[in-house]
């Protein structure tokens, strides 16, 4: 458990004067509407238990009013937790934000947790530079150190040329980059992001998502990200919690949510999604054990027609590759690989994390399946036409094992 950076344990968030009464009504199993009528209290979050590990991105998803922001804002105490615990890992101890001293909370806010807001929340009277340094100034950091960090973060979000501008002189996308830099500047490991890209137009949004993913690979923050857009959630989330009127209805990794939605609410979210952008080759591949072998021989067929064949060495690595009757060659997959120029004895190989989308392009351009290799080069399986169809139908070994109905 210790690697959990944040852990929500049975969190209730109730807005209104008469929270104790609302809590007892909740325990009697009464609904949100009944509680609102009788006590005037609004149950924004009920019994939420989710977690996020160090360096991961947890996405809170759901329709408007489902309680995403309310849950997120518990982490840095912008909302009070009515019941339950919000454990934040801090150094080598765990702090329950719901019950800690104001002093402790302030220390966490200054050093451990920072936040990016949907409407940016930049101070209009400060320049870009001073906005980025805001958290450091609050901390009372000395000038030279502060200037050094600010300069570094301005470069990180590529706003060097705009350092002395005011926020109203920047576009929305730039303003949010300032928001990001301000959050990064405190060097907090935990980043809370409440729909940070929703106020931006789609192109800029996509761009910033990519930037965030890129920055995340460098910085390895723990991020809790609120979104109402499944594409965004699946794109950046390592784990997704789907919320419906205050409850977490499903919590899992993106593939689990795509392949195995627990109820109609989640299924509706998922329905509009192209599964191939999320699913990974490893989930849908035909594993090596299921590949056809020549009767009595050691040769394995990598495709149905048997035009691609190989043998395995003692460690399971493919050897003696034959493609279209010639000695074959393995070419590692990369997004900028020019598939059209590959010779017809080449096979493209990836790992179990290679997205299904890659398998689709490889298959359509080379007419040969994508070969998946493990970390030590051992053959894991292949993704061919059949596996791609299964992906589109959201069927997999995984779904079958977990008893989900194919959609």
């Amino acid at each position: 458990m210790s690697q959990n950076a944040i852990r929500f344990e049975h969190v209730d968030v109730i807005f209104g004067q008469n929270a104790p009464r609302a809590v007892s009504m909740l325990d009697q199993g009464q609904g949100r509407d009944a509680i609102l009528d009788k006590t005037g209290c609004l149950v924004a979050v009920h019994d939420a238990s989710v977690f996020v590990n160090e360096g991961e991105i947890l996405v809170l998803m759901g329709l408007s009013g489902s309680g995403k922001s309310s849950l997120l804002r518990c982490v840095n105490g912008l909302n009070t937790v009515t019941r339950g615990k919000v454990i934040v890992h801090d150094g080598n101890r765990e702090v329950d934000v719901a019950r800690c001293e104001p002093e402790t909370l302030r220390r966490l806010r200054r050093n451990r947790i920072s936040m990016v807001f949907q409407q940016f929340g930049l101070m209009p009277w400060l320049t870009v530079r001073d906005n980025i340094g805001f958290g450091l100034d609050v901390r009372g950091m000395d000038r030279a150190e502060r200037d050094r960090i600010v300069e570094e973060k301005i470069k990180l979000v590529r706003l060097d040329k705009f350092a002395d501008k005011f926020s109203h002189e920047l576009s929305g996308g730039m303003q949010q980059r300032v928001g990001l830099a301000r959050a990064f500047a405190t060097e907090a490991d935990i980043l809370l992001m409440d729909e940070p890209f929703s106020a931006l137009d789609p192109l800029i949004r996509e761009h910033l998502q990519d930037e965030l993913i890129e920055l995340q690979q460098k910085l390895k923050k723990t991020i809790v990200f609120v979104s109402h857009d499944l594409d965004e959630a699946l794109k950046i989330g390592s784990r997704i919690a789907i919320m419906e009127s205050g409850r977490v209805v499903q919590f899992g990794v993106p593939e689990e949510i795509i392949l195995n939605p627990v109820n109609d609410y989640v299924r509706q979210f998922v329905a509009s999604m192209n599964p191939l952008t999320v699913l990974k080759g490893g989930t849908l591949m035909r594993p090596v054990a299921d590949l056809a072998r020549e009767p009595g021989g050691t040769t394995i067929q990598l495709d149905r027609a048997g035009k691609c064949r190989c043998q395995l060495d003692a460690r399971g690595k493919p050897v003696n590759l034959i493609v279209n009757g010639k000695p074959g060659e393995m070419v590692p997959y990369a997004t900028d690989l020019d598939l059209a120029k590959l010779p017809d004895h080449a096979m493209v190989c990836g790992t179990d994390r290679t997205p299904m989308r890659a398998a689709v392009t490889v298959r359509s351009q080379t007419k040969r399946p994508l070969v998946l290799l493990g970390d030590d080069g051992e053959l894991l399986g292949v993704v061919g036409e059949h596996e791609i169809y299964r992906g589109m139908l959201r069927q997999s070994e995984y779904a079958r094992v977990n008893g989900a109905q194919p959609m």
């Binding site: 912008l78 806010r109 200054r110 920072s114 936040m115 807001f117 409407q119 209009p124 805001f134 109203h168």
Partner: protein, 289 residues
């Protein structure tokens, strides 16, 4: 019917006498305080007046023009300042003008140093504002002469009762606008401040006050204008300044003097107002969040 009226008129409720008792009691028990205030205000004010009068008037005009340029970067305003002040000099109202400006600056200074903190406290405690609000209304609607009399008794004739009366009339503006400005700071900014671990003081200094600054400055401007509108009344109790020729012209039905001194007041008002207006470029940024 008539009997009832007689009962009512014959048994007068002694509000006036009660007030006099209070005033008497205050005068006899707090004389030291009133004397202290009188002294504490008169010395710096007279000192400032003397200091400003010691500057050659043409040099003074030049300094004002420079300040106008530095604050507003507008040649139009600079021209207006120079011409306006020269006209006042020409009319022979220079000394009165300087006295008026000093009076206004001190009255504004006192109003702001009382009003802004009260406005800030009110923004933390809305009940206090609800309590204060009718009192503030009263301070601005009661005819000035009503509180001028006790003020005169406490402080005697001269500058100080003039300033006190001015402060009573002008202080509601900074209180109201400080309160308004701070309560209108967008929650998003306050939350951003909180999320970076601001203490209460930091939240006030680093977020709320800067965000409320345009509104607070509007309060400052209003405060100055309200003070200026008290110039004539201040002159009645012996405060000096441009109000004095106005009062004199009233007594003597002296139309030329009345017009000239009135014109001088208007010129001072316009100059002060334009000097303290936020520049157009500053305003563009202020509205956005």
């Amino acid at each position: 019917m008539e009997g009832l009226e007689q009962v009512i008129t014959q048994h007068k409720i002694e509000i006036g006498r009660g007030a006099k008792v209070v005033v008497d009691w205050l005068t006899s028990n707090f004389e030291w305080l009133f004397d202290g205030i009188t002294y504490g205000l008169r010395v710096p004010i007279e000192g400032t007046v003397d200091l400003l009068l010691a500057i050659p008037s043409l040099a003074f005009v030049g300094i004002c023009a420079a300040i106008a340029f530095l604050l507003q970067r507008s040649w139009k305003l600079v021209a207006f300042v120079i011409l306006g002040l020269l006209l006042i000099l020409n009319l022979g109202l220079w000394k009165d003008m300087v006295e008026t400006v000093v009076l206004i600056l001190y009255a504004t200074f006192v109003s702001l140093s009382i009003g802004i903190p009260i406005g800030i406290i009110c923004s933390r405690r809305p009940w206090l504002y609800r309590l204060l609000s009718p009192i503030l209304d009263m301070m601005q609607t009661i005819p000035t002469f009503v509180y001028l009399v006790p003020t005169l008794i406490f402080f005697g004739l001269g500058l100080v009762p003039g300033i006190i009366a001015t402060v009573i009339f002008a202080v509601p503006a900074p209180i109201r606008l400080t309160y308004l400005g701070i309560s209108q700071v967008p929650t998003a900014l306050v939350e951003a401040g909180e999320s970076f671990g601001c203490t209460r003081w930091q939240l006030l200094w680093r977020v709320k006050l800067p965000a409320a600054l345009p509104t607070i400055m509007a309060g400052v401007n209003q405060c100055i204008m309200l003070s200026l509108s008290m110039v004539v009344i201040a002159a009645l109790v012996g405060a000096g300044g441009l109000g004095r020729p106005v009062v004199r012209s009233l007594g003597q039905a002296n139309v030329p003097l009345g017009v000239e001194s009135g014109l001088a007041i208007v010129i001072v008002a316009i100059i002060l107002d334009r000097l303290l207006k936020r520049r157009a470029t500053q305003r563009a940024g202020a509205g956005q969040v």
